[in-house]
């Protein structure tokens, strides 16, 4: 039986980060993953991450995955793929299925970073082919380049439901609507807005009643729910779709910690501040120790890896504390804001700044025109070019602040504060802020660019890219057509990392309305 100083189970963001931190301290580390590819969910995450620089904000998930793999490799971490841990026994001994054999390994420490699996909900027809998890849809599209379906209904408006809906649109699928039993959109308003502005309706306070079809999904009926969660009679709506995506939460895959005898709280292993479970030397990090997201999983992994290295004598107390303090501060930042773990289940009405939250955004997924002017990122000015930041909820994210070399945008030290556009700004219209915004919520407005004409620049991540001179329709935040338009500029650069900036020409009174471009010809955002 081979002994390793550290065995990490799971090569996702938490596991790789744990391995990196431990190996950097000098620990002999091996990582097992049952999948054929490492990275866990990271390589499916084609969107830009939130947070600050140290959280790798505005970097796309797959690039973060590449960075982690390179770092792990450089440090001599052994990553074994297609290696399924099938058992865990006394003395931190594990059995791993590799090929058609079982190999025993013993770790001085074991870090369990096995992640989570998707929850399902039941309704008549839920087992029909075509009903899939949102994560499965993401795997098909983003890892294998396969469209999961043509017409899709998404159940769930948490960040997974919102992000995957947008990615389905990018893949060329038609998303007929998003449905959620809750009365408020569960995920970030900016993620919701990206979807609504393309013309996809949200039905909150609704859920799926039944799915019908002959051997596969053909149509789905949704209905409104009353306060007792019973269907309201007469509220049925039927959609013809071939795919239903379920994005209704995740459950930790915590079998290993349970079997190892770790104290559990419901389905989650209880850990101390460093990720160690009640069994000394066995750690849990990432989603298995409580569902959050990849950015926090990476930090939890680093802390667990550092603790394992410290306990093995590879780090001095001072070095260990330095690592932990930096990571804890970083983790604390990510957990701030209206979507932080402490705020779950609370109904918020105002931002930290005391501004009333947009109720349309919470209930329908877009900002209403009359609500926009209250936010500090939105100030119209009649002349010159200026950014309009439609970021209205306290979320931990600040790349826009660093993006502007002219210092037009400020968030301050508190990462969740709303971005403020200064009064006397010197905007050059470079567009770097637009591309830096992971929530795609920054627009550049140039009023009176021509007589009675305004230019609106917007982030655009659909293929095929339209060209300068292409004509199309301008859509407002709710996805309604507001006017005809023409593309006058299209910018992309390496620094913008695949977020293109499209500048369209609209009548002056449409400057604060037009927020999406729908090409007149086939292709591009088909759903719009």
């Amino acid at each position: 039986m081979k002994r390793y100083e550290l065995i990490v189970i799971g090569a996702g963001p938490a596991g790789l980060s744990a391995a990196i931190e431990a190996a950097r301290a000098g620990m002999q580390t091996i990582v097992f993953d049952e999948n054929a590819k490492p990275g866990g969910q990271l390589f499916k995450q084609i969107h830009k991450f939130f947070g600050s620089k140290e959280h790798k904000a505005k970097i796309r998930g797959y690039d973060i995955g590449d960075d982690l793999l390179r770092e792990a490799e450089a440090l001599g971490v052994k990553v074994v793929l297609n290696a399924t841990v099938v058992g865990i026994y006394e003395g931190k001994e594990i059995t791993v299925m590799i090929g058609d054999g079982i190999t025993h390994y013993k770790g001085d420490a074991v870090i369990v970073a096995t992640g989570a699996s998707e929850n399902m909900v039941t309704f008549p027809g839920w087992t029909l082919p075509g009903v899939i998890g949102a994560g499965a849809a993401q795997t098909m599209m983003n890892l294998h380049g396969i469209k999961p379906g043509h017409r899709v209904l998404m159940l769930g408006t948490g960040n997974v439901g919102l992000v995957v809906s947008y990615q389905l649109l990018q893949a060329g699928c038609e998303v007929v609507c998003l449905v959620d039993a809750a009365k408020r959109v569960g995920g970030y308003g900016v993620h919701a807005s990206k979807v609504t502005r393309t013309g996809v309706p949200f039905y909150l306070g609704h859920t799926i009643k039944a799915i019908e079809g002959d051997g596969k999904v053909e149509k789905v009926t949704i209905a409104a729910l009353d306060d007792t969660w019973a269907f309201i009679e007469g509220s049925d709506m039927t959609f013809e779709v071939d795919t239903v995506c379920l994005a209704v939460g995740l459950s930790p895959m915590s079998q290993l910690t349970k079997t190892a005898g770790c104290d559990m709280m419901a389905n989650v292993p209880v850990t101390n501040g460093y990720g160690e479970t009640s069994v000394p030397g066995i750690y849990a990090a990432g989603d298995v120790s409580g569902i959050e997201e990849a950015s926090s999983a990476m930090i939890e992994g680093r802390i667990a890896g550092a603790d394992a290295a410290y306990q093995a004598g590879y780090l001095t107390e001072v070095a260990f504390k330095t690592i932990v303090e930096a990571n804890e501060a970083s983790l604390d930042q990510l957990r701030q804001g209206m979507f932080g773990p402490d705020e779950r289940g609370k109904v918020q009405t105002t931002t930290d700044e005391g501004i009333a939250l947009s109720t349309t955004l919470l209930e329908k997924g877009y900002l209403a025109e009359n609500e926009i002017g209250y936010f500090p990122g939105v100030e119209t000015r009649q002349k010159g070019i200026y950014p309009v930041i439609e970021c209205t909820q306290n979320i931990p994210c600040n790349p826009c602040q660093d993006a502007c070399v002219k210092g037009c945008i400020s968030i301050g030290d508190k990462i969740t504060s709303l971005p403020v556009v200064g009064e006397n700004i010197d905007c050059t219209g470079c567009g770097l802020c637009v591309a830096s915004c992971s929530g795609q919520s920054i627009f550049l407005i140039e009023e009176k660019a021509e007589e009675n004409i305004a230019y609106v620049s917007m982030p655009y991540e659909f293929l095929p890219l339209p060209e300068r001179g292409d004509r199309g329709l301008a859509l407002n935040r709710s996805g309604e057509v507001v006017c005809e338009t023409e593309i006058i500029k299209l910018r992309s650069s390496k620094a913008m990392d695949k977020t293109n900036i499209l500048t369209i020409k609209v009548p002056l009174d449409m400057a604060m309305k037009a927020r999406f471009f729908k090409p007149l010809t086939e292709g591009g955002a088909k759903n719009a």
């Binding site: 299925m97 590799i98 058609d100 079982i102 190999t103 699996s117 039941t122 309704f123 079997t259």
Partner: protein
Amino acid sequence: MHKRLDRSIDLGPYVAGPDDDMIICRCEEITKGEIRKAVHEGMFTTTEIRRFLRTGMGLCQGQTCGNLVRRIVATELGVSVGEIEYAVARAPFRPIAMKTLANEVEEG
């Protein structure tokens, strides 16, 4: 860990539901009605239901239906889902051929 459930509670007669034929455990093809009936026959815990019906004993090892079964049992018993234990986990955690399980190899 789980609270011992009161075995003397009167569940009343079993009333068939409109969605009783809905499959809950896909791997073992167990329906909602079968789970509900099992509760009326005295299976009050996840472990009992599992051994009685084989829910969660298939390919996915209950990763999909585990919570669905817990919720059905809780509703039937009129208790909150938190009162129903999670399934016990034990090796092997993933489906494995017996010949593989028996084929122990040293790290090469």
